[in-house]
Amino acid sequence: MGTAVTTLIKDSPPDAPAKRPGRPVAVRRRGRRENLAGYLFMSPWIAGFLLLTAGPMAASLYFAFTDYNLFDSPKWIGFDNFTRMLDDPRWQKSVEVTAKYVVIGTPLKLLLALGVALLLAQSRRGQAFYRAAFYAPSLIGASVSIGFVWRALFSDDAAVDRTQSFFGFDVGGWVGNPDWVLYSLVALTVWQFGAPMVIFLAGLKQVPKELYEAAEVDGAGPFKRFWSITLPMISPVLFFNVLLETIHSFQIFGSAYVVSNATCGPADSTLVYTCYLYQKGFKEAQMGFASAMAWMLLLAVALVTVVLFWSQKRWVHYEEASR
């Protein structure tokens, strides 16, 4: 195929064409035509990428340095949006809320995912059913409807509140309580532990059985086996999940927006970063400021990613390296 042919040409010694002059040209031409066909096939997606992703991104980078209200043409203001942002108490609040959500939600979700994966990794009857059942919430999780269900569950005098009140612990519904509502969002994300769980499961299956047998012979208990074999062996998978879930958590929007009934409240208690970005852009028509916020988020996520990658040499154990 195309790539194979080109590599072949590249790999041949410099004097090769001289021996058989006709063929490489024909091969090259055919390769070019095939490339053309390939690009034509891809054209809808390339066009889509340029028009719907790359173009808007470039535009948003430009808007980030302007004052733009959607109606008048953007005014260049340099770094004003960024300096204003750092002084804005609501922006600070949104960073605080998002950080809290990420720091509490992500580890809980991963712990639960790992815990359930460990249980499901053992061969039992009906295992396939349980896997599907635990995975199901992740499938519907991103939808708006589940946000409404959550809102209904955690409202004043709804299912959760009544159960709580029965045990003499009435907070008047999580949704309306500024001190509690963020935890309902955390509960929502934790409940959707299916995707990392499946990845953990795949990782657990890769751990060689001999290691456990050898450890058992040496008299290692279940905890020791988990700590010294399972955890190091699945650490690449763990790293992958931590990375993915952290990035994902930073982008929380849908659940906060729906559960707070589009207010990101009460009292800004669910004002996650993207929610504030949305308010600035689409409610207050400060598109310049909102674009600047978007790029700040990108920078922050990139920074966290870099830190995570840097940290992995301390705790992520790749098998190849140890061989």
Binding site: A37, L70, F71
Partner: protein
């Protein structure tokens, strides 16, 4: 691949071309669907508003009457709640595709006029497509901004104080025309002390009420292009508010948040609440006490600072059918049958034809009519405060920052600074 290349290549290229064409086709059809006329001269106009299901039912009934009278005009409708409506509208307007005719409020007139979204209806009045006669109490003036007619009022309303009559009676306090703020707050304290109920649900966050207070003192919330008061004014207003929350005279703001969408007055967690008089119908349906409309407290024992506000119908500046839009608005504000259908849902009906046609039979609606008549008779109605572009964002910020302040989350002085800074940004864009 490779050996029988030529045939295959052709098919391949054809297929690739087809997929490209399909994508292009999808793009063009996506942009199509331009609402407009069809061959037989029938014209379609889009009408959007905000409000609850109930309002939608009434409006759809009214539109049926309109379409019967004007068979060549079809009205396509759309509605959301207040917040969602303006979000959608802003995006549509920025894209040059807002509805042809839509519900509007005074806070948005300058904002969208500045952005050339609003149709100046003056020329349609001159052309005889829009009748501007028979409006009550000069309410049509609300839609006149900077010499243009940007909206036609469908109803009139005014700020009012809604009270829980049973609690007021049990506490032995009476709300009377011309009572002062001192008397009002003394009454709240008495209610709190004797009835163990907070007196008010959070007056300090309502921009339109603070406007009345400022007007009583020779100021106003807005000038033509900015705020009409100082940081010291607001510091006093909010500090008092905060102290009253602490003293239990005003409902705990956290409680108010939790009760939403129910109001603290209806749930029995407050004995009074300031709101627009046409909103008061909700209390009777939400709560089980009896609710009445009381006079706004005054500073000098006389002036309440009240004025008539209103919801309006406005047109899109670049609508393809300005004549039909004008005819639609004219019908909706003048037709007596429409008046009977709409009732006081959007305020007291603005034209005499509609006002005379609708006779409310239920107590809450009768009370609204009486309230506005009383206020007008007492000679208390002034000219509406100007609303500069960005007034809507300022109102939302006022409510939110006041909320943060009242829960103690933000210090009063910081809250005032934050509000002024946000207002400055909002009024500049």
């Amino acid at each position: 691949m490779g050996i029988n290349g030529s045939v295959e290549r052709r098919t391949v290229l054809k297929a690739a071309g087809a997929s490209l064409a399909a994508a292009g086709l999808a793009a063009t059809t996506g942009c199509g669907g331009d609402g407009g006329g069809s061959g037989d001269g029938t014209v379609e106009i889009r009408f959007a508003w905000w409000g609850a299901e109930e309002r939608a039912k009434r409006i759809n009934q009214s539109i049926k009457l309109f379409e019967k009278k004007y068979p060549k005009i079809k009205v396509k409708t759309d509605f959301q709640d207040y917040v969602a409506f303006w979000e959608k509208f802003q995006t549509q307007a920025a894209g040059g595709n807002p509805p042809d005719v839509f519900q509007n409020a005074v806070a948005f007139l300058r904002k969208y006029d500045k952005r050339s979204v609003l149709l100046d209806l003056k020329s349609q009045v001159d052309a005889g497509n829009l009748d501007l006669k028979n409006f009550r109490a000069g309410v049509e003036k609300v839609g006149e901004i900077d010499g243009k007619l940007l909206g036609v009022p469908v109803g009139s309303n005014t700020m009012s104080l809604v009270i829980d009559e049973k609690v007021f009676k049990a506490a032995g306090v009476k709300a009377e025309q011309g009572w002062t703020w001192d008397e009002y707050f003394a009454a709240l304290k008495k209610i709190h002390d004797t009835q163990k109920v907070p007196g008010d649900s959070g007056y300090f966050g309502i921009m339109y009420l603070y406007d009345l207070f400022l007007r009583q003192n020779g100021k106003a919330f807005f000038t033509e292009d900015g705020l009409g008061f100082e940081e010291t004014d607001l510091t006093e207003w909010w500090q008092d508010g905060y102290n009253r929350v602490k003293a239990g005279i005003v409902t705990d703001p956290k409680k108010v948040e939790q009760l939403k969408p129910k109001s603290a007055l209806a749930s029995g967690d407050a004995a009074s609440e300031f709101t627009w008089d046409n909103f008061t119908v909700r209390y009777a349906t939400e709560g089980d006490s009896s609710y009445g409309l009381a006079p706004i407290p005054t500073t000098d024992g006389k002036e309440t600072g009240q004025y008539l506000g209103s919801l309006m119908l406005s047109g899109f500046a670049r609508t393809k059918h300005p004549k039909e839009v004008a005819q639609f608005i004219s019908f909706m504000v003048h037709d007596p049958e429409v008046g009977k259908i709409m009732g006081y849902d959007r305020g007291l009906l603005s034209t005499t034809e509609q006002f005379d046609a609708y006779k409310p039979t239920d107590a809450p609606n009768q009370a609204i009519a009486k309230y506005e008549a009383d206020v007008a008779e007492a000679g208390l109605l002034g000219t509406i405060t100007p609303h500069p572009a960005g007034a809507d964002t300022v109102e939302a910020a006022f409510l939110r920052v006041a909320g943060d302040m009242s829960t103690g989350k933000t210090k009063v002085s910081d809250a005032v600074k934050q509000f002024f800074s946000e207002a400055k940004t909002a009024l500049a864009t």
